[in-house]
């Protein structure tokens, strides 16, 4: 009799704890008063989350008669995929979340995301005003991405451009780089040498021409030399070509031979990003999402502007583009409302004015709508309403492509996972610190990368 009591007590406590902590489960997709509720899961940085929270609040107020509640869960970019996989394993996906072009195929094949095409047609939503290259990366025809039905609307499209510290150029008495005529490699080396110096006379270099974070800077060299990490079908690793090796050699030479960047050891004590913020580097890469931070004198108290990455044998300056899109869960109870929300976030003109800084002054992305981007946005930059460096057209040139520059997605955008490329960047510092030659390194790492890539493709077939 008492024994039962003890057991019952134990069970009761366990259960009670469980119920208290999970909260009483309300009916899926609905609030207590019968209105719809939406769960949204995104990664956003601090600047972004403030703006996006406001936008989502505004959307909910406009639809207050049908939508009772929107739960926004925010995480970091590093944690995002792990958490999302957990949600997929659990079978509890939020109504709206991000998908990158690299995951569209996998998510569709496993039945996680909804085809948006019928909803957009039914609602009469046109996507013609958006940047088509970006939009197409979310299309999937059942075998490959790039065309077919649309599975996501872009949250943004980003460009990784080059930036230079004007104050350091002035100090050295150098002419600013031409935003429409990229440096050749030799010119770049020359300029960097003039910007690399010991400013306080203690015998150690404390200002460099440039700072290179491998995983963000090597692509530009490789592509501009006509090389690529992968073959056109993204199934074969092609880093053992002479063009690739030459690009890598020239990249590491900047550190080892010309000594115009911090060494690997110096990079370990203070990152290249921190050194740029401290005014120790004349050139540094700048993503469209960095602009608001670099324009903020608290973060970066220097004058700066945008320019092009140096060129190698092709003479064309190259960089990479990025994008992430909003998709709707195939299990969502409220797909109609979810589509309305992502349409608002992706294509609403006022919303795009806000995120691009036309209304707020702080830009975290380029407007998704082409007309807005190339009209109002550029005007707002010109008249100073948006805090932006004056050479903003560098970004548009990269995005649209010109004869002297162009942009593309990273190879890993098209592969099932990025492990194969991580193998490369995990150990490329061995070349950059001079302990291994380019040839030896490639001979060692290429087969490992190929094996990893084969496995990745194998895992989705």
């Amino acid at each position: 009799m008492k024994l039962k009591k003890v057991v019952a007590l134990f069970l009761a406590v366990t259960m009670l704890g469980g119920v208290l902590l999970t909260g009483c489960g309300s009916k899926e997709g609905q609030t207590a008063d019968g209105k719809k509720s939406l769960d949204v899961f995104l990664y956003l940085n601090d600047h972004e989350s403030e703006i996006y929270k406001n936008m989502i609040d505004k959307f909910q107020q406009e639809h207050a008669d049908t939508i009772g509640e929107i739960n926004l869960q925010i995480t970091t970019q590093e944690e995002y995929l792990t958490t999302l996989t957990g949600m997929m394993t659990a079978g509890s996906l939020p109504d709206v979340f991000y998908v990158g072009p690299e995951s569209v195929k996998q998510f569709v094949d496993n039945g996680y995301i909804e085809d948006l095409t019928p909803y957009l047609e039914e609602k009469g939503i046109s996507t013609d005003g958006l940047m088509q290259d970006v939009l197409n990366s979310y299309r999937y025809d059942g075998t490959a991405t790039g065309s077919g039905d649309l599975y996501a609307l872009p949250k943004d499209s980003s460009v990784f451009a080059y930036a230079y510290n004007k104050d350091l150029f002035d100090e050295a008495g150098l002419e600013y780089p031409d935003p429409e005529d990229p440096y050749t490699y030799d010119e770049f080396v020359e300029v960097c040498k003039k910007l690399t110096k010991d400013t306080d006379g203690d015998g150690e270099i404390d200002q460099w021409g440039a700072g290179f974070a491998n995983a963000f800077m090597l692509y530009q060299f490789v592509w501009s030399n006509g090389a690529s990490f992968l073959s056109d079908d993204y199934k074969t690793v092609t880093i053992d070509t002479p063009e690739f090796k030459e690009a890598l050699q020239k990249y590491v030479d900047l550190t080892l031979v010309h000594k115009v960047t911090p060494t690997v050891e110096q990079d370990a004590s203070l990152g290249v990003y921190q050194r740029w913020l401290a005014g120790q580097e004349a050139f540094y890469a700048c993503g469209t999402w960095d602009v608001a931070a670099f324009m903020d004198p608290e973060t970066f108290p220097y004058n700066w502007d945008l320019c092009l990455f140096p060129t190698l044998s092709t003479g064309k300056s190259m960089t990479y583009l990025g994008t992430v899109g909003y998709c709707v869960s195939a299990d969502s109870e409220n797909k109609e409302e979810a589509v309305d929300l992502i349409n608002y976030l992706s294509t609403d003109a006022d919303g795009q004015r806000e995120v691009s800084g036309i209304t707020t002054g702080n830009s975290i992305q380029i407007p998704n709508i082409v007309e807005l981007a190339e009209g109002e946005f550029l005007d707002a930059i010109a008249d100073g309403t948006v805090k932006y460096p004056s050479n903003a057209n560098v970004i548009f040139n990269y995005m649209n492509g010109t004869d002297f520059c162009g942009g593309r997605f990273m190879e890993s955008t098209y592969t099932p996972n990025a492990e194969w490329i991580n193998l490369f960047f995990e150990s490329v510092d061995k070349v950059k610190n001079g302990s291994t030659s380019v040839d030896d390194f490639i001979a060692e790492i290429a087969p490992q990368m190929q094996a990893s890539l084969d496995e990745a493709w194998d895992s989705v077939s």
């Binding site: 134990f10 704890g17 902590l21 999970t22 909260g23 957990g86 949600m87 659990a90 203070l270």
Partner: protein
Amino acid sequence: MTLQRNKKTKLVDTIVLILLILGAVAMVFPLVYMVFSSFMTKNQILSAEFSIIPDPWKFGKYTEVLQRPEFLRGVRNTLMVAIPVLVVGGFTSSLAAFSFSKLQFKGKNGIFLGLLATMMIPFAVVMIPQYVMFTKMQWTNSLLPLIIPGLFGNVGVIFFLRQNLTSIPSTLVEAAKIDGCGYFRIYYQIFLPLMKGALMTQLILWFMGIWNDYLAPTIFIQDDEWFTLQVVIRSFNSYYAVNSDYPLIMAASVLSILPTLLLFFFFQRYIIESVAISGVKG
């Protein structure tokens, strides 16, 4: 002869003491440095000159940390895990220890050895399945993955308490039975008070374990609303390193160490004793 011997012993004692003090200074020095650097300016930390004493002293980083909502939430979440686990888990563990030590039942040794063997199983092997279980049960947006397993008791605590009870004569049980006491009352009224001291020490150690745990929370908790303190500290480290705000990172780390350190200072006699016993008798 004796005098000489004494003199020699004294000399050796002094040398030993000096060496031990030097060792202790080396052990504590990094922690002292951590405290000092939390009062430094960013520039002082990032200067190539070697300096330990803050110049000037800046106290603002502590207020800054304490004003971060993530930090306070981390403390709250850690306590929300610790309290139910210690109360319920302490109860179930001590009850089981009593049973293993003083009651006769079939399969006793088998069960005990089975439980003991789990101490050898690496967390890595159960980490993936537990992660799957907790996500399937949709617990990962709460603290349940950290709380529920603890409620069932802790093998280490059971083992230690059982050792502790062996010194108490089993005749107490018989005597109580003759007096008409039920088994639960025997545990509750006789043995629980007897193992109170040992149990308290174990609970303090358990609390330190929960407070310092990083691996389980980082794997099982997906919603940042429910991050425990250690996870928050780690994310501070990656977040503020971008702006090289090392004083703030150090201040947050100091604050996260402080509670366990205080507990240790207050209860060190019991803690050290119980650690020593587990090694010598284990």
